[in-house]
Symmetry: C2
Subunit: 377 residues, 2 copies
């Protein structure tokens, strides 16, 4: 039975500063729409019918394989790549395929709330694992729950703290999976946007794809309402996934899959990522500069090495939930860490997205948010 | 845990005579693609972002409500309509929201195999219920399983037999639901295509939407790879559905939802249905005439009052599974009832779709199929 959350769902109209939103204003809508239209004209049975492309449209699985191999050092063949309608849908299939209801799953605390909802709905027992500056403390999890055979992590930019899982911790986590015969779900949601240097190696790549199930999404690199994501599974799980994806009714529409394959094949995907990496770096700089200017010296503003959002730790006298309420009233979205919390041991902080905010709105929105923060105490 | 089926998945390349496929060759692709393209250009955050339209795009829910009220006598308001990515996805949410794992669900035997897979994957215990010429024998179910609180039915054109649930049986089924406080899932997948007279009233309409959860799909009226369907739930279930649909990551892409709303609003939907009703009636007549001509007197060919497929009962000496294998080798798809069976008590029959077969291919394909049937004994 789906267990519903105690939290109500958030329906923000404000782009400033909702985490997880890409730059809608800079999306190459003409190129994309042209490709989409060409593919939507293909009304042959193999494009318009049922399940002709089991696991996803072949050329998209191939294009993704090349991309993931070269950009993320993911070790896979196209038949290990499955196209699904969202990260949540992929995670739902993973949980239901690999875990019995009531079994334990480890998760970062604080962590990605929609993933928590999916895993709870699949009947799993979520075991929170603390974080430090190097990411997930798998050593603590090892002691607190010896039965868990699944862990869900966001190693590139931990959601919401932004911490990158250190190389040493990555190895510890994979050692744990090896010892336990456990599965690691690596949600690599916005790893493309690393501003300086190359992105960190994926867990999947270090592991060679033995214990790691890799989740990726087009929501950040393209846009969320496209509703297309992918799962890369170990070779041993591919036959089960091949059967399970259509069971769940989770295949994205074929014209979208085919247009995405062309978008990647024709090079638009790479050039869009490159362009967004520069844009998000610029928007991050504008946002952090504005916040530093408007907040003054009392509240330090960190500038993470990548991602589409940052975390802002507030002084104890200024509760993040109170700031969030006032920001909402002022037409801004300021998400408190408490929404992503599994226990009460979360920092008093905000999770702020800057990637979607047009340059001209960054300073005035930051000014409003800073004044709310300074007035809340 | 997802329990996988014993059956391998079917990947037919043959349109003749796969059940459930619409006329790809007569779809108004230009009009549709024009609407799709217009909507795909809308890159504002409310169209391209996350969950701005909880439960589905508002104008589509409104357009569907008008359509369902007038064409199917469904009793609902737009906030009871939820847009999902497939009938399977909708059924998955229903099962997981309303049933504990291990609980019983009644289902027609033979019945719609993908629904069986979804319900088994949700951990439900499927209780087969026999059919007769009036449809589901709910009286037999009442005696054999007194615990069931959910039944899945295809009352308009039972899948695969084509039987319509009689008016008297509809009332019996609703009485059962009332007595048991049970839920009836009404999968009304191709009710639009009734060739003579008006479609039968829906269970949802007779019941006033108290115990019936209504499932509809755009797979038959539009085309399957569009991946868009809808669920109409009783008012009491609407809040839970509102929360559960995004949990499962089941929302169709926004440009598709918006284009569908326009397609209905501008009248294309109704005129396409009217045109396809005439076309499918003609293709059915051509197909049944051809089968009668090529089969001779020994094997009667029924002509159902509607739908996109028909069932052909074979003599005992001619096993449907053997015909199916030979047909596959000849490039045809002839689905034996056994694929839809829950028990062994299914007729020796084929389930044959004619709607997608272009006129010029009907006679030659029917001739090949008939010769295979006559040679199999």
């Amino acid at each position: 039975m789906l267990r519903l959350s105690r939290f109500s769902l958030h329906l923000p109209r404000a782009v400033a500063f909702m985490p997880g939103l890409p730059a809608f204003d800079e999306f190459p809508v003409k190129v994309w729409t042209r490709l989409l239209t060409v593919q939507a004209h293909r009304m042959q049975p193999d494009m318009a019918g049922y399940n002709f492309h089991l696991g996803g449209y072949g050329p998209l699985r191939e294009a993704l394989t090349s991309y993931l191999r070269s950009s993320r050092k993911v070790v896979c063949d196209p038949d290990q790549v499955f196209i699904v309608s969202s990260t949540r849908a992929g995670l739902d299939i993973i949980c239901r395929l690999l875990c019995d209801p009531g079994s334990a799953v480890l998760m970062e605390d604080p962590g990605y709330n929609p993933a928590k909802n999916v895993m709870r709905a699949a009947g799993l027992n979520i075991v929170p694992v603390p974080l430090d500056a190097d990411g997930l403390r798998i050593d603590l999890a090892e002691r607190s729950d010896p039965t868990a055979r699944l862990v869900y992590v966001t190693p590139s930019h931990q959601w919401p703290t932004g911490v990158s899982l250190s190389v040493r911790r990555r190895q510890q986590l994979l050692d744990w999976a090896e010892r336990r015969s456990a599965w690691v779900v690596e949600d690599d949601y916005d790893s493309e946007f690393r501003f300086d240097g190359r992105p960190l190696p994926t867990l999947q790549g270090i592991d060679g794809g033995r214990h790691v199930i890799y989740l990726g999404t087009f929501s950040k690199v393209m846009f969320p309402s496209l509703r297309t994501a992918y799962v890369v599974v170990p070779r041993s799980l591919a036959p089960a996934f091949r059967e399970a994806v259509p069971y769940a009714g989770q295949e994205p529409p074929m014209h979208i899959q085919a247009a995405l394959a062309e978008f990647i094949h024709q090079g638009h995907f790479f050039s869009h990522i490159r362009r967004m990496r520069r844009l998000y770096k610029r928007r991050q700089a504008l946002f952090t500069d504005a916040m530093i200017r408007h907040l003054g010296d009392g509240i330090p503003v960190d500038r993470p090495a990548g991602g589409m959002q940052l975390s802002l730790v507030l002084p104890g006298v200024c509760p993040a939930t109170a700031v969030s309420l006032s920001a909402g009233a002022a037409g801004l979205y300021a998400k408190p860490f408490s929404i992503s919390a599994l226990t009460n041991a979360v920092p008093n902080a905000l999770h702020l997205g800057f990637a979607a905010v047009p340059e001209r709105l960054i300073d005035p929105s930051a000014k409003t948010l800073a004044s709310i923060i300074l007035a809340t105490r």
